[in-house]
Amino acid sequence: MSHTQNKSSAFQQGMVIFIYLAALTALEYFIAITFTAVPILVLIAVIKVALVMYYYMHIYKLSEESDSDQSSYSYKTGSNRFGLWLFLLSDSFVFGGLLVSRFNLLAMTRPPLNQLLGLAVTVVLLLSSFFMNRGETAMALGDKKGFFTNTIVTFILGLGFLIGVVAVEWPNAAREGLTASGDAAGAIFYMMTGMHAFHVFTGLIFMLIVMNNARKDVYSAEKHWGVEAAAVYWHFIDLVWIFFYPALYLIGKLL
């Protein structure tokens, strides 16, 4: 628990990480529109993922020693955490398969998409991750009000991302001639964004459930596995997008 001992330092850390992520995203965009350097883009994505996994998803908690009593809450939380990470590992194979399919079908070309719009939804999702982290930190410190404020902001941003992709980006792409039943480029674009949007949708529902339970005082500073799970899941969705965004919007010559 050393990482969240001090209230202000925990929030501060979240902020610093967010600034790093935002800077890297901006750098990524700048590199992509000025000169082609796929290895650098991949490197940036990997750094972003590492930051999210360590500071937002707290992967180090997997190796925490827990209570030796197997029926205690902390021991069970340890098992739950391990189970959730295994689930994410499993899920990442779906996204990995989609990425492989994208590069197999389109190679080094990319579909005709609005890069600014892509950057906009990416920033929205990144922001939502930042607020999710604040919400979880607040709950861990017993600050219910802070939890609600931040989680509601996360929810609104997440919804914004979903609308941005499904209700703005999709019709926009269709106007550019990129349709699901058109060619393979359209097919893989709608499949990737659709699969991701489905996960966003489930993440939002998860958040609603957690907020409802928090309203009923199910969670406390010590026992809030549900909040942690919702947060880790939400960050995972962000993590997937860290790869999908350059793969769809930045890498390759325009088709």
Partner: protein, 630 residues
């Protein structure tokens, strides 16, 4: 009967029916509003059937009540850790239970039921194949909208997938029942998820069978596009069924890994775990990750059919070979999912019946992990003739041949284990020994398929069919029967009849050897797989007749087994003690196992397989603490 109709199983099936109608009705209504066609050859349109199938699964799961606790949690209501079973006797097995032993038995029995269905399909087309020309699956036939050859294709494809699902359920059954007992755990880590993993396999099996009556499909179990993109609507039910069964496998594997990592008894370090646990973990690692890829590949074809998305359609810039890569990335490691638990059973039971330590325990444990990891790198050896980039064939030949090394380690260790023992051969041991020999034949017929040039001849012939059946019978079926005979007394307190067990064995083993050797023989001579009819000029008629007879003898032996199994539950000879004189913890307590496993927890103080070493117990039961009940 009345009690059956109020069981979770009956409720679930009822709700699946309702859900199918609701989903299909929903799409049909929308289509009617949009002015699209609302009916098709099989009453509903294809999109309607797909959503219907999907809703059917959801309704099934909610209808059985297996999701009740989760729904309560979502609403902020706490539930007790364990629910006591409300039912006794057979009713326990058709209702939702959180007890890993009940779930294990449910898995095993469902697996046996599916083996019977898949076997029945095999018998049907085996009869057709007994002679060249078409006998009863003729072109004039019209059953479920299919003529004879189409029906043959459907049955042959379903035989493949139903057997695969039954294997997945069979290994889940063994893992579920045995692993927590071997670990000294009260249950799996996530009992509700465990029940969920089992129950979701039931609607999956129903979906698979629905594909038979909805026009079938003619692609084989592999479902390669573009053929699968134009097959009848049964194809969608097949995809949906496999997708659903995949979730059962993924979630079960997740549960197994967490259980092994977090629920071991005191003192049980990694290399003091019973060897079966190692193979369960190796299997679960593959099932957890790779299964997603078959789900994804089938999902992509489903969407190609539903929305015209051109992933695998060359006319739209798609790539049919991409499907094969995604598909085999799961489906090759999948065969290691099927065999590793069985090989674990062989390693687990051998020491008991030869009264000697398992030779090279660590190497056997590591060889399971090695097989699992190398298994991820070999998938494209199924595609040597597919037209993929030619240079890829050589590295995949090397990686595939590498699998022989860890597999060889297992064989040599088994032989060294048997050497110098005091061997007894009750029924489980017979099945273990036959498993070794049959798996050896499967293993040895593998490398010719791995070398590219020879595979150009062998690919898609009966040689592959024979090779595959050898590996799966040796790696799963024989060990599975061994496990059923071996742990039956643990579950029921009675043992199965030895005489019938031996008849089962001596009927099945020679028939099976004849079956696969015959398959390989005609395969080498050019008999293609997946064909309803063959040229009489090739001279395969008499061999096929023998194969058919062998197939029926195997079926007969399984019937004998089933009689023995169900009869012994009530009438078997009592066997409540340590029947096999095993060192394993579960045999140190009386059978049948109590509801929460070990009343008194145990501690690991020695090596698991020190047979023949005096005063070296594996486990020690801790002093009972008064007043504390589990």
């Amino acid at each position: 009967m009345k009690r059956f109709f109020s069981s979770a199983l009956a409720r679930g099936l009822f709700w699946q029916f309702v859900g199918t109608l609701v989903g299909a009705g929903l799409i049909t209504g929308i289509r009617a509003l949009m002015g699209l066609s609302v009916t098709d050859k099989f009453f509903f349109t294809e999109p309607a059937w797909v959503l219907g199938g999907f809703f059917g699964v959801l309704f099934f799961m909610v209808g059985t009540g297996v999701t009740d606790d989760w729904i309560k949690w979502a609403r902020g209501i706490d539930t007790p850790d364990h629910h006591e079973d409300r039912f006794e006797g057979w009713e326990k097995y058709v209702n939702v239970s959180l007890d890993h032993k009940v779930i294990g038995a449910q898995y095993a029995i469902t697996s046996l039921a599916l083996i019977c269905i898949g076997g029945l399909f095999a018998l049907i087309f085996r009869v057709e194949l007994a002679q060249s020309q078409l006998q009863f699956l003729t072109t004039d036939l019209n059953l479920f909208g299919q003529n004879g050859p189409q029906l043959y294709n459907t049955l042959m494809s379903l035989h493949g997938m139903i057997m695969i699902v039954s294997i997945l359920l069979g290994i889940a059954g063994m893992i579920n029942y045995i692993v927590p007992l071997l670990l000294g755990a009260q249950d799996m880590s996530f009992p509700r998820l465990n029940a969920f993993s089992y129950w979701i396999a039931v609607p999956a099996a129903v979906l698979l069978l629905m594909s038979l009556v909805l026009g079938g499909f003619d692609t084989g179990w592999t479902g390669y596009p573009p053929l699968s993109a134009r097959a009848p609507v049964g194809m969608q039910m097949f995809f949906l069924g496999v997708f659903t069964a995949g979730w059962s496998s993924i979630l079960g594997a997740l549960n197994t890994i967490v259980t092994v990592v977090r629920m071991r008894a005191k003192g049980m370090t990694a290399f003091k775990m019973p060897i079966f646990v190692w193979s369960a973990v190796a299997t679960s690692i593959i099932a957890l990750t790779a299964t997603q890829l078959i789900g994804l590949s089938f999902q992509l074809v489903m969407f190609q059919r539903l929305f015209g998305m051109g992933f695998f359609d060359p006319a739209k810039g798609g790539n049919p070979i991409l499907f094969q890569h995604l598909f085999w990335f799961y489906s090759h490691p999948a065969v290691y999912v099927f065999i590793l638990p069985g090989l674990g059973i062989i390693s687990e039971l051998l020491p008991v019946f030869v009264r000697k330590p398992l030779f090279g325990y660590r190497w056997i444990a590591m060889s399971s992990m090695a097989i699992a990891l190398v298994g991820f790198l070999v998938w494209a050896h199924h595609m040597f003739t597919s037209g993929m980039n030619e240079y890829l064939r050589v590295p995949f030949m090397y990686s595939t041949l590498l699998v022989a090394i860890p597999t060889g380690v297992k064989f040599f260790s088994w032989i060294a284990t048997i050497w110098g023992g005091k061997i007894t051969t009750p029924t489980p041991m017979l099945f273990v020994l036959a498993g070794i020999v049959v798996f050896l034949m499967g293993g040895l017929s593998g490398p010719p398929n791995a070398t590219v040039s020879v595979d150009l001849h062998l690919h898609d012939t009966y040689f592959i069919v024979g090779h595959f059946h050898d590996t799966i019978f040796g790696g799963f079926v024989f060990p599975f029967f061994a496990a059923l005979y071996y742990w039956f007394p643990k579950a029921t307190g009675r043992r199965m009849n030895e005489t019938l067990g031996k008849i089962h064995f001596w009927l099945m083993t020679p028939s099976f050897l004849v079956l696969t050797l015959g398959m390989m023989r005609i395969g080498l001579l050019g008999m293609r797989r997946r064909i309803v009819d063959y040229d009489p000029a090739m001279g395969f008629d008499s061999t096929h007749m023998v194969l058919t007879i062998a197939g029926f003898l195997i079926a007969l032996s399984v019937l004998i087994f089933l009689y023995n199994f169900f009869n012994s539950i009530k009438n078997g000879e009592k066997a409540e003690g340590n029947l096999w004189n095993s060192r394993s913890p579960e045999w140190q307590v009386p059978s049948p196992m109590p509801a929460h496993n070990y009343e008194i927890p145990f501690e690991v103080v020695g090596e698991p397989y020190d047979y023949g070493l005096a005063d070296a117990p594996y486990t020690k039961f801790m002093k009972p603490e008064t007043g504390k009940h589990n």
